[in-house]
Symmetry: C2
């Protein structure tokens, strides 16, 4: 990540707001598991929403071994985008209408994990959401690992884009309309137990660490 951004990552973003700092990129990826995987199938673009997780300088996503998305993406160019809506920016003009946001785009060719690597990364997927949850679950079965494809991609060609704060429209400063920001955040609700739970099981203490955004 110490190398300069590649041409493909660079052309993607307006330079004045792009950020190539790994810490910034990692923080956005860690904040939002929902991602959008773009790939080309029969010459046309497809954008599939799925869950990503990060381990070091790689991201991972998974799905059914029968998934066309995963088959189409393996070893082909993909673009994975993660974005977060942080607030509505109410400016004095429609021209300066905006939202506060954080986003990351990553370009690369994903690779399929081996069975051993899969078990490690599926554990990561679960435990990065709720620490220790993998160890509490019914253990994974060999046929489940076989039926699951996990793709990994290095975070080498990547850029972040962020906007925060008040509108930037000083040219209209005298126009008498309210301006400001309406913040948006992801609220985590109280856990809803499954009515089919085995009697006596309790919500894990670490479950309260779950957050998004």
């Amino acid at each position: 990540m110490s190398t300069p951004p590649s041409e493909r990552a660079r052309v993607k973003r307006y330079n004045h707001i792009a950020d190539y700092d790994p810490a910034t990129i990692h923080a956005i990826l860690d904040a939002m598991p929902l991602c959008h995987v773009g790939y080309v199938f029969n010459g046309s673009p497809f954008v599939t929403p799925t869950l990503q997780w990060r381990d070091g300088d790689c991201i991972f996503w998974h799905g059914s071994a029968a998934s066309r998305m995963l088959e189409s993406a393996e070893c082909q160019d993909v673009c994975v985008t993660v974005s977060i809506y942080d607030g509505l920016v109410m400016a004095r003009s429609a021209y300066n209408y905006n939202i506060n946001h954080r986003s990351v785009m990553i370009f690369g060719k994903p690779e399929k994990l081996s069975d051993e690597e899969k078990a490690v990364q599926l554990r990561n997927m679960v435990n990065k959401t709720i620490p220790g949850q993998w160890e509490r679950l019914r253990p994974v079965k060999p046929q489940e690992l076989k039926a699951t494809t996990v793709l990994s991609m290095k975070i080498t060609e990547a850029s972040a884009k962020l906007r925060s704060g008040q509108p930037d429209d000083d040219e209209d400063a005298d126009f008498p309309v309210w301006t400001g920001v309406i913040p948006v955040r992801h609220e985590i609700g109280a856990p809803i137990p499954n009515p089919k739970n085995v009697p006596g099981v309790e919500f894990p203490e670490d479950g309260h660490k779950f957050k998004i955004g």
Copy 2:
């Protein structure tokens, strides 16, 4: 929208969870302005986050007339995906790990709007977020309209995918681990006024109607 879903829309989704009902598709689009536009540039996929809005059976998005994304997307195949994270589904096994979600994918070839259509749709963009806000803003200038490209795309090839409710893992019903759902929703915070506001301007009553998700 009364025609059967096209092959391209249909192959995209597992049939047992896909939904082609316009009302379902429209409700998801209206709930989440943040969208992900996938297009092909020099043979590689790009996924750009931007804001979409709907008017009837069309969606719209906009950007700088100098935007490579908008130039690349015009009259070319694109895929626009909108997705909402509604909750973490805690199952008894990693294999049944899931999220509750709503998503829409739309396929098509977007078209550029004329200047007259642009003004109508930019007003829609603003007023669908906060009713009447366009009329309160500093009026749009001809050079701003010129500098803005608005693309439109018919919602003809589209599908929705939804999951809600408890985990579906009766095969492990006896395994003694807590299962259930942790709901996630978008919370709208209190408006933060711009310190540079003209004294005396007030937050519009309709601003309280702003919501996401």
